[in-house]
């Protein structure tokens, strides 16, 4: 017997089933109806339905033959623009099957491409515009170069509303025969906010512990972010730099986290109003500022350990300034 991950099992197959995002859905349906799809750019935070919308659009556009007409690429995983160029070229060279005269290329996490790669991408988009439409997916529009933005219809996916999330969770829990308490749902909303993927994953993991109540939820959440993140921050604030760096190395090596993952977790720990770190608000704001700078450098290709070490040293400095620890 096997059990699916619920995020996949309950991923909507058609646009109609999508949770909220009504205006976008209605525009996409019109595209399907007219069989006229422009290049698309779906932007918005994680877990709001961007990939789901792209896949559902593909299904409705091509019907049963959707798999043959859709190429799904993830910019973060493809090795450079040359690979993307080759795959798109091979793919777009053949005619689309069925009554839609072009194929659909879904490029997820497009905002992770360097601007050089995006320059090349815009050419690819133009070269194959007769035989292929692109659907780019990104968290931030601002990380997509203007010439590409200019070629796309841009749709913003809003974080989902509390009611939407809770209704969906209840639906899944009922189908799965899982018992959920009101405070459990409330807690999942609290930790996931508008991110439905996180909400569903949390629900499934918490259900493995038994009844999904707030205790189970917080137990899951406490362990999604490694304990080492908090420990590292605490050590750095106390000026114990060398020990903090050991934690850092553990996170990089044993957990296989990227520098950007780590800085993001640090940032959400610092900005979490329930944080167990005892730091004054001014220090939290200052830390967030430095975290942003370090994140920027790593995105630009700098060495993760060095940049994060520099960050830890700055935290130590702040720790002394505010006499923490």
């Amino acid at each position: 017997m096997s059990e699916a991950l619920w995020v996949e099992k309950y991923r909507p197959k058609v646009l109609e089933e999508m949770v909220n995002q009504e205006e976008i859905v209605s525009r996409l349906k019109q595209f399907v109806k007219a069989k006229a799809v422009p290049h698309l750019l779906f932007a918005g935070p994680p877990g709001t339905g961007k990939t789901t919308a792209a896949l559902a659009l593909a299904r409705e556009l091509y019907g049963e033959r959707w798999r043959e007409n859709v190429l799904e690429l993830n910019a973060s995983d493809e090795r450079g623009i040359q690979t993307i160029r080759l795959r798109v070229k091979d793919y777009a060279r053949t005619m689309a099957l069925g009554d839609v005269p072009y194929k659909l290329i879904i490029l997820d996490e497009a905002d992770n491409m360097t601007s050089d790669a995006q320059q090349a991408l815009r050419r690819i988009m133009e070269l194959y515009s007769r035989t292929a439409r692109f659907c780019l997916i990104a968290n931030y529009v601002s990380k997509i170069i203007e010439p590409i933005q200019s070629r796309c219809a841009i749709f913003r996916f809003q974080p989902l509303e509390k009611d939407d999330i809770i209704e969906r969770l209840k639906f899944i829990a009922e189908k799965e025969g899982v018992s959920v308490t009101e405070d459990g749902l409330e807690a999942i909303w609290e930790v996931s906010r508008g991110d439905l993927r996180k909400a569903i994953n949390t629900l499934q993991a918490a259900s493995a512990l038994g009844t999904v109540d707030s205790r189970a939820v917080y137990r899951v959440v406490g362990r999604v972010t490694p304990e080492e993140i908090r420990e590292m921050l605490l050590l750095a604030l106390r000026g114990e730099f060398i020990k903090a760096r050991e934690c850092l190395r553990d996170l990089l090596i044993s957990y296989g986290l990227s520098g950007v993952d780590i800085i993001r977790m640090i940032h959400s720990e610092i900005m979490n109003p329930r944080t167990k770190l005892e730091i004054p608000d001014e220090a939290r704001v200052e830390l967030a500022d430095i975290a942003g700078e370090i994140n920027f450098r790593m995105v630009e290709g700098a060495d993760e350990e060095i940049q994060l070490s520099a960050f830890l040293a700055k935290i130590a400095l702040l720790g002394r300034k505010y006499r923490i620890g």
């Binding site: 059990e3 525009r27 932007a43 090349a120 994953n201 499934q204 730099f241 450098r297 060095i306 070490s309």
Partner: protein, 406 residues
């Protein structure tokens, strides 16, 4: 199927092209100089922001002068020789369309990526110098130092960012032809959001207007403003124009120095030496992290002239800091990063193979699989192994391999 309005309504003649009078005048007189057989310059470098009409003006002018446009995109070629060969061949071939003459359009020369197209600029210069037909190049930003020689041999023509009124005028014309009833307010909003990018504005209009008889202001809600880019160009220029040759020489005078190794060593041992002063440690790490950024930049652009700055920062920048602790003897260690290399590689391979499976199954990247999905599977497996095994089975992940992760 509908065609993009940007193409459908591309101006057929210069008269139809909105604004850009200065550019039109310059372009016309340059093309006339070719007709007379005495070109003022072999090439034009047409520059301006996205959607200002660079490609449009070339096609419109070509039409007016009865020229066939041969379009070559420099960024499609990976090597300079391939580029040169292709252009040389297309320029030699005869016109198929019985036009009077031909014009080569080298689109987006600033789309060349540096390390892949080493020599591409030189190749373009050679092509321009030997060309017997007019060549027009387009670029968003021609002020990149790489383009200096190209600028010298070209006539520079600027396409101005369009103002809101012009954008509205064009949008109105399109709405009229598409028979869409639309409020000027709607067009004003689209125009404002496009910030002078006419192509963006037309695309927006098509996205909301196609197949409709009228557009209301509320219909605009699905579209969002295009965000501004951070101009990396300024930053790079600041870096490239700074020069300290003496220091460069003094560092390069040590030819056997393995500075990458030195860098790891400094990183490893700096905290031990500076542990008494947080202030010094932070300042030194600031310098080291900056040196690292230079190394990253060198790696990406192969611009080795940046090396002296990086070396200076990682040595002098780390050594000369405020509040530096007094000398004391500290035992140094071999960089852990280098020691751990093989174990890291092994771990990474196992992790990557598992993440690839999750990524494919769940339509995410490996990185997202690692932070957004794998932790939950781990929790489930730990708390409820039976349930966890079922999920691993669904994913098709070997349990033993999975266990070796934690």
């Amino acid at each position: 199927m509908s065609i993009p309005w940007v193409e459908k309504y591309r101006p057929k003649t210069l008269k139809d092209l909105i604004d850009q009078e200065e550019a039109k005048k310059k372009l016309i007189s340059w093309l006339e100089s070719w007709s007379r057989g005495k070109p003022t310059k072999k090439a034009v470098l047409l520059y301006g922001p996205p959607g200002s009409g660079k490609t449009a003006i070339v096609h419109a002018a070509a039409n007016d002068f009865d020229l066939e446009v041969i379009e070559v995109n420099a960024s499609d070629f990976r090597t300079a020789t391939a580029l040169e060969r292709t252009i040389a061949r297309t320029i030699r071939e005869r016109s198929l369309f019985g036009k009077r003459g031909r014009l080569a359009l080298l689109d987006e020369v600033d789309g060349l990526s540096l390390h892949q197209d080493v020599g591409a600029i030189d190749a373009i210069i050679r092509i321009v110098e030997n060309s017997r037909i007019p060549i027009i190049m387009t670029a968003n930003n021609p002020w990149d130092p790489r383009f200096r020689d190209l600028r010298n041999i070209s006539l520079l023509i600027e396409m101005k960012k369009l103002n809101q009124r012009d954008v509205i005028t064009v949008l109105k014309r399109i709405c009229l032809k598409e028979r869409i009833k639309v409020d000027t307010n709607v067009l004003r909003i689209i125009a404002r959001r496009s910030r002078g990018d006419l192509r963006a504005a037309i695309n927006d209009l098509q996205a909301i207007g196609e197949g409709r008889r009228s557009i209301r202001v509320e219909d605009l809600d699905v579209l969002i403003p295009r965000a501004a880019q951070i101009n990396m160009f300024e930053i790079v220029r600041t870096v490239l124009t700074a020069k300290t040759p003496e220091q460069a020489k003094s560092v390069l005078a040590l030819p056997s120095l393995d500075y990458q190794m030195l860098f790891h060593w400094i990183n490893e041992n700096l905290p031990y030496q500076y542990s008494e002063s947080i202030e010094a440690l932070a300042a030194a790490y600031d310098a080291l992290s900056k040196a690292d950024m230079y190394f990253g930049r060198i790696n990406r652009t192969q611009n080795w002239s940046l090396l002296p700055y990086a070396l200076e920062l990682m040595t002098a920048g780390v050594a000369v800091v405020p509040g530096k602790p007094r000398f004391r003897f500290v035992k140094y260690s071999f960089p852990q990063k280098l020691k751990m290399l093989s174990r890291m590689r092994e771990l990474r391979m196992v992790r990557d193979s598992i993440l690839s499976i999750i990524a494919r199954k769940c339509h995410v990247s490996r990185a997202v699989a690692n932070t957004e999905i794998l932790p939950y599977i781990k929790i489930i497996y730990k708390e409820n192994p039976e349930y966890g095994r079922k999920i691993l089975k669904w994913l098709g992940i070997d349990e033993k391999r999975f266990k070796s992760l934690s």
